[in-house]
């Protein structure tokens, strides 16, 4: 008999509000099931409900069966021996879910159920072999590190080691790759898939990005507004007659198509050997080594690179938010006015003051104009980003992430910029919202001749929007070329990895 984790009529409610209603499904050992859905659709609640760790104020109903045993009827103590041993979890932010005070070893020992005195020594071998298994070496050294001493990719691997520690039958993975850049993402995905197949574990893989799992998942479950609206084997998910929500998700995944781009030759912004060193000591590694680059009117420049490679620093220099320590940024002058540059931040929710109405926040950009004129300008900007004017009188908490990111763009438009810098402006959004924002940006360029600098760690995004690509690696601009050339023939090793990652997800064999 294959082992099976089944949930029947599982509902989660907060007060009278149903957040998840009557979900039904099953996960067999050795199977990787993807749960996809837009942000807020209830994917996380589903996993938490299964493992019995819903927040206090939420209530779950329905049956959860593990090999026929009712988990929902177990007491806390019995549940404790299920968690970790038979079902374990992977999370989106590995660093946030580890105790910053404890070493990786301590976390692993804890997962092994061995945090008592004297047991640590006995389990040392197991700890090391687990770390090696997930590709973390030298294992001994890494075991003694604390979470904040690891990079994102390493931390996610460590998290996987912890999840595998007690040899569970099932793993519930809640967006474990969405905080990683594309290279890491594909690495971790492959690793997860490999382990899952080696060990015959059943994995419930939660994601909002249907494209990323198309080659690894056995089955797909689509969640929308708290309901499971569709489920089928992965191969069938792309057929035209699926549920509309499924279609929406699939359409949002970025196609490698490219629209026609016309760049005018006027140079708006130029970086001449601009570099930045935050540390006072000249010896220390610079955040950004001297970089030279030109930005033309109507151009879309895609900027990629690992975390910490200096992308944001470069953006801040371009926007004039920071003074370069070497070189300079030259703004072109037209009719006596310098190029206006605006920045759109990554996190939509934190870029508006939660206490203020959107109108008040937006008025910061036009507070020098008379009230009537300011109102007109705001209305105009709202129209440009395709939002109804009523939204202005809401507070950020009452808007969705996608709406807020549009509002942030509208606010930037109020200053009539010529260059818009989007620093990871879509990475906090689900795939559908992301697609909409990217399309909006391309529209704006088309209509208003805006130049865009799009910073992203996601090669799909870069490929979708860019005319030219700039690759940063360890504080250095290592490659700057038109997109076409770049995709065909990347020069730098890192660029090669990036381009390869675009295909690697596809190269992982699906279980047959």
């Amino acid at each position: 008999m294959t082992r099976e984790l089944e949930f029947i009529d599982l509902s989660v409610s907060s007060g009278d509000q149903r957040l998840l209603s009557e979900a039904r499904g099953a996960l067999r050992a050795g199977e990787l099931v993807a749960v996809v859905g837009r942000s807020g659709s209830g994917k996380t609640l589903l996993t938490k409900a299964i493992i019995g760790l819903l927040p206090q104020q939420l209530r779950a109903e329905g049956k959860i069966l593990l090999d026929g045993q009712r988990l929902d009827q177990l007491d806390e103590k019995a549940m404790d021996s299920v968690r970790g041993r038979r079902i374990s979890m992977l999370f989106q932010q590995p660093k946030r879910v580890m105790n910053p005070r404890l070493t990786i070893r301590a976390h692993l020992l804890e997962a092994l159920g061995a945090h008592g005195w004297g047991k640590a020594r006995q389990h040392e071998d197991r700890v090391l072999s687990l770390l090696e298994e997930v590709g973390l070496s030298p294992a001994k050294q890494i075991a003694s590190k604390r979470p904040d001493q690891l990079s994102g990719g390493m931390a996610q691997r460590a998290m996987l080691a912890i999840a595998l520690a007690a040899d569970p039958e099932f793993i519930l993975a809640d967006e474990p790759t969405s905080s990683l850049d594309s290279i890491l993402k594909s690495e971790v995905l492959q690793l997860l898939r490999r382990k899952q197949q080696e060990r015959g574990v059943g994995v419930l893989f939660v994601t909002h990005d249907i494209a990323s799992i198309q080659h690894i998942a056995d089955r797909v479950v689509v969640v929308s507004d708290g309901q499971i609206v569709d489920q089928c084997p992965t191969a069938l998910i792309f057929s035209k007659d699926r549920h509309s929500k499924t279609r929406e998700l699939i359409e949002a995944s970025l196609p490698p198509l490219r629209t026609l781009r016309a760049t005018d030759s006027a140079c708006l912004l130029e970086s001449v050997d601009a570099g930045k060193n935050y540390t006072r000591r000249a010896k220390g590694p610079a955040a950004l080594n001297p970089t030279s680059l030109r930005l033309h009117g109507g151009q879309v420049l895609g900027v990629v690179g690992r975390s910490g490679s200096g992308k944001s620093t470069f953006a801040r220099l371009l926007a004039g938010l920071e003074q370069p320590t070497t070189g300079r940024i030259i703004q072109a002058h037209h009719n006596g006015e310098a190029t206006r540059v605006q920045v759109i931040a990554q996190e939509p929710y934190s870029s508006f003051d939660p206490r203020l109405t959107i109108r008040t926040s937006m008025s910061a950009a036009v507070h020098r104009l008379p009230a009537i004129q300011a109102g007109e300008r705001m209305a105009q900007a709202m129209a440009q980003v395709g939002l109804p004017e009523q939204l202005l009188d809401r507070r950020p908490g009452q808007c969705s992430g996608g709406q807020l990111q549009r509002l942030a763009i509208a606010r930037a438009l109020l200053t009539e910029p010529q260059v818009l810098i989007c620093d990871e402006s879509t990475s906090a959004l689900d795939s559908v919202a992301q697609r909409h924002i990217l399309d909006l940006l391309l529209d704006l360029r088309e209509q208003m001749g805006l130049s865009l600098v799009v910073i992203s760690h996601d090669m799909d995004v870069i490929r979708y929007v860019s005319d030219d690509v700039a690759v940063f690696y360890e504080g250095e601009l290592v490659e700057h070329r038109p997109l076409d050339d770049f995709l065909v023939d990347p020069e730098h090793q890192h660029s090669k990895d990036l381009v390869a990652a675009l295909d690697i997800t596809a190269a992982v064999p699906a279980a047959g």
């Binding site: 996190e347 934190s350 003051d353 008040t360 910061a364 950009a365």
Partner: protein, 283 residues
């Protein structure tokens, strides 16, 4: 603060009690049954009776009348001190958060110093210079009392200023005043108000302790603290003299703290004591 918020705060039991106490003390000259200073040596240290609802003190003065009149002094000193420290603390806290640099450094050090110096010692220093009295009490406590507010405002304002949305506002050209008015003040106001309520309660107790030690209000004027000190020797024979002013201090301080807590609650914040806790944390 939205209208319904104010209602939620103002219609709570502690608010009612406080309002009642304030009205009673303001109306003291008209409603108190006796002249608070009228002595009747024959009727000293009486237990509560119909004639004297809270009994009489060692000079045969009516305790109820004295508690009512004493409240005028206690409450007004505490109020003025609180307002004083609120103004000074907010101004300095904002200044050091916004300006930073040496000003910030200086105010941090002054804070450190005032934290380390015992409050009563500071009060003594000022009393030594100015002699006891109303203004001395306000000043001697006020000199230290602004520091928690300043620390809170500084840390809250710094927090507000370091948010992404302030950064975003700055990018689109918001003026300093715009940021202060829309992003900083609304963020700071709630906790500061709540803290002021808490401070009021604490100051009421502290001011009482000055009077109790005999370095606060000077007879024949009296406040709750000095009434306590006067009544303490007779505590066994006539506990009412102690219980009444003690309970008054406790009640007002308690209610005002609860009120402060309610303010933060309504604003979705933490316990008012926790804002104080946060204010204590500084670098």
């Amino acid at each position: 603060m939205a209208r319904n918020h104010s209602r939620e705060i103002l219609l709570s039991p502690p608010a009612f009690i406080l309002l009642a106490v304030v009205i009673l003390t303001i109306a003291a000259p008209w409603i108190s049954p006796y002249d608070p200073n009228a002595q009747s040596l024959a009727d000293r240290l009486q237990a509560p009776s119909l004639a004297h609802l809270l009994g009489t003190d060692a000079l045969g003065r009516d305790t109820l009348s004295r508690v009512l009149h004493g409240g005028r002094f206690s409450l007004s000193v505490a109020l003025i001190t609180t307002l004083f420290s609120l103004l000074v603390g907010t101004a300095l806290g904002l200044l050091s958060a916004v300006r930073g640099g040496w000003l910030d450094e200086l105010s941090l050090r002054v804070n450190d110093l005032l934290l380390a110096l015992p409050e009563i010692v500071i009060a003594l220093l000022i009393i030594a210079v100015m002699g006891p009295g109303f203004s001395t009490m306000v000043l001697s406590v006020g000199v230290v009392a602004w520091t928690p507010t300043a620390r809170l405002v500084r840390s809250m304002a710094a927090q507000a200023l370091s948010t992404h949305h302030v950064e975003a506002s700055k990018h689109v050209g918001a003026s300093r005043w715009f940021i202060l008015r829309h992003h900083v003040l609304p963020f700071v106001a709630g906790p500061v108000l709540a803290q002021a309520a808490l401070r009021f309660g604490l100051l009421l107790v502290l001011l009482g302790s000055l009077s109790y030690l005999g370095i606060g209000v000077q007879p024949p004027q009296s406040d709750w603290g000095s009434m306590l000190a006067e009544a303490q020797p007779h505590a066994i024979r006539s506990p009412w003299g102690m219980i009444a002013p003690g309970a008054a201090i406790f009640l007002v301080s308690f209610c005002v703290t609860l009120l402060g807590n309610r303010i933060t609650h309504v604003l979705g914040g933490q316990d008012v004591l926790a804002t104080e806790a946060k204010a204590e944390i500084h670098d």
